[in-house]
């Protein structure tokens, strides 16, 4: 009897926690949606801000964030996926691969401001890239690399070794086996990881704050050496001004657009995962 009561008690506790988490999420998202939805309009999405972020829109910040994501992807995806292939398929007895694995696991826990400092010191000043889209993208790429590598590695290692053996036993080379089997079968998992990593990068402020983002700019970035505007930083900068009330609409609008973007990316990841789960169920 007492055991049953205890069981019930713990079950209620767990359920209570789950509800609390769900509720908190709902309140935060609901708050932003309610306050932001009225702000979003075609004008808000397609125009430059005017009159100190009280009129116009957030077009350059949206474009800046998209540019940034595209660059981060171009830099982090090839390096991340190839590293994951190396660690999981070519590891062998190599000490280096072992060290790499430890490094990757620990890098994922480094605070983002530290990456920002690294980008500032190494890219902006030492390499003399200046405050630029490229320096920010590279910094964010450093930040998401461990995530991309870990997700890719997990996806690659989920491919059963019986399929590698099947291919190799037909007289294919290791690289052919990786290219024709391991990578295609793990692509859904890798893509999911990439999208989630990018959505993480989309919301980061500290790394870009130190390396290239600006609050106002009258034109879009012309090349990768140019500074840029971005949504998370715009939000941060407006919210921490002394007269933050005046730009409240802009803040909620920006937050909502950013939120929608991140949610869409996560939804895409879920769709990809479900679509392929059917195809490759071993």
């Amino acid at each position: 009897m007492r055991r049953r009561t205890k069981e019930r008690l713990f079950f209620m506790l767990f359920r209570g926690c789950a509800w609390a988490v769900g509720l908190a999420l709902l309140i935060i998202v609901g708050y932003i949606v309610v306050l932001g939805i009225g702000v979003i309009s075609w004008e808000f999405l397609t125009e430059f801000p005017r009159r100190g972020f009280t009129e116009g829109g957030i077009f350059p910040a949206i474009v800046g964030t998209l540019y940034l994501m595209a660059l981060v992807m171009v830099i982090a995806v090839p390096i991340g996926v190839l590293t994951a292939v190396y660690i999981s398929e070519y590891q062998g007895k190599s000490r280096f691969a072992g060290a790499l694995r430890v490094a990757v696991n620990n890098l994922a826990g480094v605070p983002s401001i530290v990456y920002g400092l690294l980008g500032l010191g190494m890219l902006v000043f030492y390499l003399n890239w200046g405050f630029s889209l490229l320096a920010s993208a590279m910094t964010l790429a450093f930040l998401v690399l461990p995530l991309v590598i870990t997700a890719s590695r997990e996806a690659i290692q989920a491919v059963p070794s019986s399929l590698r053996e099947a291919s190799l036993a037909l007289g294919t080379t290791k690289w052919q086996t990786i290219r024709h089997h391991v990578l295609p079968y793990s692509t859904p998992g890798i893509l999911t990881g990439i999208i989630l990593s990018l959505s993480r990068a989309a919301g980061e402020t500290a790394p870009i704050l130190l390396t290239g983002v600006v609050l106002t700019k009258t034109i879009l970035p012309q090349d990768v050496w140019d500074t840029f505007m971005a949504m998370p930083f715009q939000l941060y900068a407006l919210a921490t001004r002394t007269v933050f009330e005046k730009t409240a609409d802009f803040q909620y609008g920006t937050a909502l657009v950013l939120l929608i973007m991140v949610v869409l990316m996560n939804l895409a990841a879920i769709v990809i995962r479900n679509r392929y789960r059917e195809k490759y169920k071993w």
């Binding site: 590698r164 036993a169 037909l170």
Partner: protein, 264 residues
């Protein structure tokens, strides 16, 4: 009998654990040789040496010689990829690729092209035409007695097939590379009796064209299909001879104990 695979003084270690001890055996051409023995005695390890699959295991060390048609496949100048083209393997659990039935068979020939001549070392590869490839796929499937069951659904996923069909698909896939030797590692252990019977019929039919080595834990199966049988125990080859002789008049006490089921 002409010899095809000649193994001399084969030793295999996994790290410090010796899995095979001084195994010497000569496997004849165009015959079925069964490898039997209690589990863990090194049967899989043995056949995986013949196509150098053990190369993939990080801490595996192999010493001794395995000559195939007179050439040691462990020689430094041997290309392991060529070895595996000549010596195919079918695994315990059917492992088709998550692709269409057609693609499963067409994959390797498309990669290798028409020049299976090892002296060219893949330098001069002529591609199969679409028609040739389709013919090759059909021929392989017919040879594996699967064609009639799948000819109307070549583009369907191989995963839609039953276990027995998947295993015959894997056999067809191996034959499409045109090997001279095919190794089977307990190919029926995941199959029901009817599917098993089909594979056994197929095996007997295959020896016209291939040298077959089959690992089995099923002694009746060895008795039914094999010309010769090798009995392994704790990593050693205890006895090897014509199947009938091994089952009726085993010379070694261990062999007798095993085949009469008096071994734990």
């Amino acid at each position: 009998m002409s010899e095809n695979i000649k193994v001399t003084g084969l030793n295999v270690w996994f790290d410090k654990n010796q899995a095979l001890k001084d195994v010497s055996i000569t496997i004849p051409k165009n015959e079925i040789t069964a490898v039997i023995g209690p589990s863990g005695c090194g049967k899989s390890t043995f056949i995986r040496c013949i196509n150098r699959m053990n190369d993939l295991v990080p801490k595996c060390k192999v010493t001794g010689r395995i000559e195939v048609d007179g050439k040691d496949i462990y020689d430094a100048d041997v290309d392991v990829v060529e070895v595996r083209k000549r010596i195919g393997m079918v695994f315990q659990k059917p492992n088709p690729f998550p692709k269409s039935i057609f693609e499963n068979i067409a994959y390797a020939p498309r990669i290798h092209g028409k020049d299976l001549d090892p002296s060219l070392q893949g330098t001069k590869v002529t591609k199969y035409t679409k028609k040739e490839l389709a013919e090759l796929v059909e021929r392989s499937l017919r040879r594996a007695a699967l064609w009639d069951e799948v000819k109307d659904r070549m583009e369907k996923s191989a995963y839609d097939l039953s276990g027995g069909q998947q295993q015959r698909l894997c056999i067809a896939r191996t034959m499409a590379v045109d090997p001279e030797i095919i190794l089977f590692d307990e190919p029926c252990s995941a199959l029901d009796p009817i599917a098993t019977a089909k594979i056994e019929d197929l095996l007997v039919d295959l020896k016209k064209d291939y040298t077959v080595v089959i690992v089995t834990h099923n002694m009746q199966q060895a008795a039914r299909v094999a010309d010769r049988t090798a009995f392994f125990y704790l990593g050693e080859l205890i006895e090897f001879g014509e199947t009938e002789r091994i089952f009726e008049k085993p010379e070694q006490k261990l062999t007798e104990q095993y085949i009469t089921g008096r071994m734990g």
